[in-house]
Amino acid sequence: MTKISMTVDGVRYDDDVEPRTLLVHHLRERLGKIGTVVGCDTSNCGSCTVLLAGKSVKSCTVLAAQADGMDVTTVEGLSTPGGALHPVQQSFHETHALQCGFCTPGMIMAAVDLLNENPDPSDEEIREGLEGNLCRCTGYQNIVRAVQHAASTMRTDVPTTPETAQQSQPAQPGASQEVTT
């Protein structure tokens, strides 16, 4: 057993873990962060992507012990229940960038990192940047659109879809509308 301490979605957790425990299993099974999912056993699908110290990683390739002392953000930490969605989450919704939604948390986390690195990516840069995240449902076209749309939202801090533009209120970063259901 190894003692580790990490801050996940803003909350600090101290745990004993077996050295072989993967970060994804620690997040899911010990911390209850079940928004992050496992889609493969070869680190190819990207379903398990989280931010580790602000950078996207496939949490099935990192040991929990390696994350000791670090900050982790999962999809559950991007927004608060009932609170504001992250612009990337909002864009995925607006542009229909998901169908079954299984790849979506990982895809969103990878997109957040991509936009942090490159706030104004070309379509090609988005396609290359998300190459490690597989989606079987969407054919990726709307995912590319979503990332473009999020990029423009985050650059201007003003929502730009026809629906949100009508409301003409400047949105704060991370303060987009909640999904209406």
Binding site: E18, R20, E29, K33, I34, G35, T36, V37, V38, G39, C40, D41, T42, N44, C45, S47, T74, V75, E76, L78, S79, P81, L85, Q89, F92, H93, E94, H96, L98, Q99, C100, G101, F102, C103, T104, P105, I108, D123, I126, R127, E128, L130, E131, G132, N133, L134, C135, R136, C137, T138, G139, Y140, Q141, N142, I143, V144, E163, V179, T180, T181
Partner: protein
């Protein structure tokens, strides 16, 4: 049935953002893997490393004593409760249906077949304990190739059956009375073209691995499963294990993709069911990706020998198809039926006067095949669309022109085809013309000629694919004639709550298609309630007790009609209540946009919500009024629906490296009236991606011993965002005459159309080099080899 025209302000036809998204983008999704119950044990499954072997010895005892392990068992240990997996579609009277124990008892017939199970307190311990199980195999001869399997001295997959042939199914238009004799057509023809096309084996590769949780501790045994078919699964569990049906509840929570790959009753579900009963406590099994690739069913895998006869003016006079279909080692729920669905689609959109189809289902020591997106129809469309291009090439005719000469014109519907179907409606001209315009066809043909003339190392090819498909798998009567073991009806229930909000229960079982949104749009229009006031419930046999689930684009095409009918019943039921509230005769009322008004009298009337509250209190209701506002409808259509479309692909092929680059891809689909254009477009995108993946990237490969060489995402190329191009999509709308909304179904269209469009483009690019075929997937290596063997004057590949 008359198609209702959309009214101003209608929800149907509108790009509504999906209700489903709220939980999916925030990680609050209920995947099967996320379910955890008190006292739950985790199962791990030991799988056969051999493709064919006798199990000579099993000892699970050492596994039981390892830390965390609670139980371990083999097929022998649960023989009395595990039941047997069933095939629901023996296509002929004498179809050979082998026994199919969920956990192998004395013999294994493909690699990955489950042989023993450990139940432990956590997954890691269960996996560790698997290694302690002792098991000995005596290898038996392996047969993998379909033609080899049919040889007289072939090793037998099921010794006791004495044959590797499951069935032979024949359709002949002369005998069926739907057309002329193919033999005659071929003897009279000015041109006869023979081709062999191979449909490589594909792995559905839904992103969420299959998982199952079983809780035996309640009044009912509850199973959560990542399945497309909770209703069928419950029925099969009852029929195949002997547990009473009303004592079983199946729930499909959020399901992460299916594509036919979760249209199955799986050994793992049966094993978990048996384990939970044996242990008396909840169990969970979630497969790894490698297990999924190895043992969840595969798709396609056919050898198609196709003969087209024609006149020199381009008129097709006859079509005959001989098919070998790989069943794998066992028959899954619809394994034998998949190629038979294709039988009805080889003639595609063409007025072919003579047709013969013969299919043999063959057992091999491979994972079973079964439905995969399109199930039989993509295979059929591929063959006919490839050979139509060969015909065009032989005649020196434009491939579009060849199609125009043969297709059914829009004024000829309904049209009875040589395969015995009646196509409801269509307009192939409109879709094709629109697609040609979007692609810039003529201009690209000019560029193609320039590249050919200049001997450009990068050649341009244009691929055409026109298609129709039979959607909305239903008419129960026809399914019965085809010996399918279930009906094709669908159910919907609509419940007005006292406050006027609406709960809708559907028998369909979505896994990414957005039914919660589309169904809400339909109900909002039918009942005149806000979209937000509708909640759609599905995928639980307790709340949704009647249904036949989601596959074959049947949900909207069949389930959508049941939904409209249930809404209409609610409207009818509320009429006397509204009349009572308005103190008038029910016959004097009209219902529009959610309000009953006295005919010819402007002003406010009574809404359904008013009626719902009035009937809930029921303080004063006329005699005979049932104090609820809900209704249930079950619908069985009298025909399939037939979406269609034209896809065009422009591809650049580097003749020096064999690399294919999709330059432009255009899809014009006609799926009838559209409920939510945004969702339809998304379905088309995903469908094209999967069809393109078959054309260019994917293929399951076994080695000579029957080991799957493409058992992970490292070896099996599911395309990534960097591998796929942008798609240009558009629509024409020819309403389905048999549907109150005019809808036809869209789930499979993209997959059916795109595979031949892409391969036709690749071959078209290479024609000047003498290439007439490239086998799928058209990887750079395959393309390069095809070029080389053509230019060397050797065998064409």
């Amino acid at each position: 049935m008359t198609v209702t025209e959309p009214h101003a302000g209608a929800e149907v036809g509108r790009d509504r953002r999906r209700k489903e998204d709220a939980r999916l983008i925030t990680g609050r999704t209920l995947w099967t893997e996320n379910i955890s119950l008190p006292g739950m044990l985790h199962l791990a499954i030991l799988r056969s490393p051999m493709a064919h072997a006798r199990i000579t010895h099993v000892d699970v005892a050492p596994a039981r004593h390892l830390p965390g392990a609670i139980d371990a068992f083999s097929g022998q240990d649960i023989a009395d409760i595990q039941g047997t997996l069933a095939c629901a579609w023996p296509v002929t009277e004498d179809t050979v249906v082998p026994d199919y124990p969920p956990l192998a008892v004395d013999e294994v017939r493909h690699t990955g077949e489950p042989v023993a199970v450990v139940a432990a307190r956590d997954r890691a311990s269960a996996l560790d304990a698997l290694e302690a199980i002792e098991i000995d195999y005596e290898p038996l001869p392996v047969v993998l190739d379909m033609e080899a399997a049919l040889a007289d001295d072939a090793p037998l997959v099921h010794e006791a059956k004495g044959t590797n042939k499951s069935y032979t199914w024949i359709f002949d238009s002369a005998e069926a009375g739907t057309g002329e004799s193919v033999t005659h057509a071929e003897s009279e023809a000015e041109l006869v073209i023979n081709r062999r096309y191979v449909q490589q084996r594909l792995i559905p590769a839904f992103m969420e691995p299959r998982g199952v949780v079983v809780d035996p501790t309640g009044e009912q045994i509850t199973m959560w499963s990542a399945t497309q078919i909770p209703h069928i699964l419950r029925l099969m569990l009852a029929m195949c294990t002997g547990v009473a049906e009303h004592k079983i509840r199946v729930i499909a929570p959020d399901v992460g993709g299916g594509f036919g790959g979760k249209l199955q009753i799986t050994p793992e579900e049966f094993i978990a069911f048996a384990a939970a009963r044996r242990l008396g406590r909840p169990v969970k099994y979630v497969e790894s990706r490698s297990e999924s690739m190895l043992s969840a069913h595969h798709g396609r895998d056919q050898i198609q020998d196709i003969t087209l006869s024609a006149r020199r003016d381009g008129t097709v006079t006859g079509l005959s198809v001989k098919l070998l279909a790989n069943m794998g080692a066992y028959l899954g729920i619809v394994t034998p039926g998949v190629p038979i669905l294709g039988a009805f689609m080889f003639n595609a959109i063409y007025k072919i006067p003579a047709y013969r189809f013969e299919c043999s289902g063959v057992f091999t020591n491979t994972t079973k095949t079964d439905a995969y997106r399109g199930a039989g129809r993509p295979e059929a469309t591929y063959a006919i669309e490839r050979i139509m291009d060969e015909l065009a090439n032989e005649l020196g005719m434009d491939p579009i022109e060849v199609r125009r000469r043969n297709w059914i014109n829009h004024d000829e519907f309904p049209f009875s085809t040589v395969a015995g179907l009646t196509y409801d409606s269509g307009n192939y001209e409109a879709a094709t013309d629109k697609a040609l315009g979007l692609l810039g066809y003529d201009e690209l043909r000019r560029e193609q000629q320039q590249r050919r003339d200049s001997g450009d190392p990068v050649q341009l090819g244009i691929g055409v694919s026109t298609y129709t498909e039979m959607c909305g798998l239903a008419p129960s009567r026809i399914l019965g004639q085809l010996r399918y073991g279930a009906g094709g009806w669908e159910n919907a229930a609509v419940r007005m709550l006292p406050t006027g909000k609406v709960e809708v229960v559907t028998g369909t079982s979505p896994h990414g298609q957005g039914h919660e949104t589309a169904w809400s749009q339909i109900v909002a229009d039918q009942l005149g309630v806000p979209f937000e006031d509708v909640e759609v419930l599905h995928g639980d046999t307790r709340t949704s007790h009647k249904g036949l689930d989601t596959y074959g684009s049947r949900s909207l095409a069949v389930g959508g009609i049941a939904l409209v009918q249930a809404c209409q019943k609610v409207v009818d039921k509320a009429r006397p209540i509204a009349a009572h509230l308005l103190e008038c005769d029910p016959a004097d009322l009209e219902f529009a946009e959610g309000q009953y008004r006295i005919k010819g009298t402007p002003g406010t009337g009574k809404t359904l919500a008013d009626c719902a509250l009035a009937v809930f209190t029921s303080h004063e209701m006329p005699d005979g009024v049932e104090p609820t506002l809900d209704a249930d409808a079950t619908f069985d259509p009298d025909n399939f629906s037939f979406p269609h479309g034209t896809h065009l692909c422009a591809a650049e092929v580097d003749t020096e490296t064999g690399h294919v680059r999709i330059r432009k891809y255009v899809a014009v689909d006609d799926v009838g009236r559209v409920v939510n254009p945004m969702i339809v477009e998304g379905q088309v995108h995903g469908g094209i991606a999967q069809g393109m993946a078959q054309a260019l990237f994917e293929g399951a490969v076994y080695d000579a011993d029957g080991n799957l060489l493409t058992g992970t995402f490292v070896d099996y190329t599911v395309p990534s965002s960097a591998d796929l191009p942008e798609f240009v999509t558009d629509r024409t709308e020819t309403p389905a005459p048999g549907h109150p909304l005019g809808a036809k179904g869209v789930g499979e269209a993209g997959t059916i159309a795109s595979t031949p469009a892409v391969v036709n483009a690749v071959v078209d690019a290479l024609r000047p080099l003498g290439v007439s075929d490239v086998q799928m997937p058209c990887t750079p290596e395959r393309v390069w080899q095809a070029i080389r063997s053509a230019t060397d004057g050797g065998e064409r590949s």
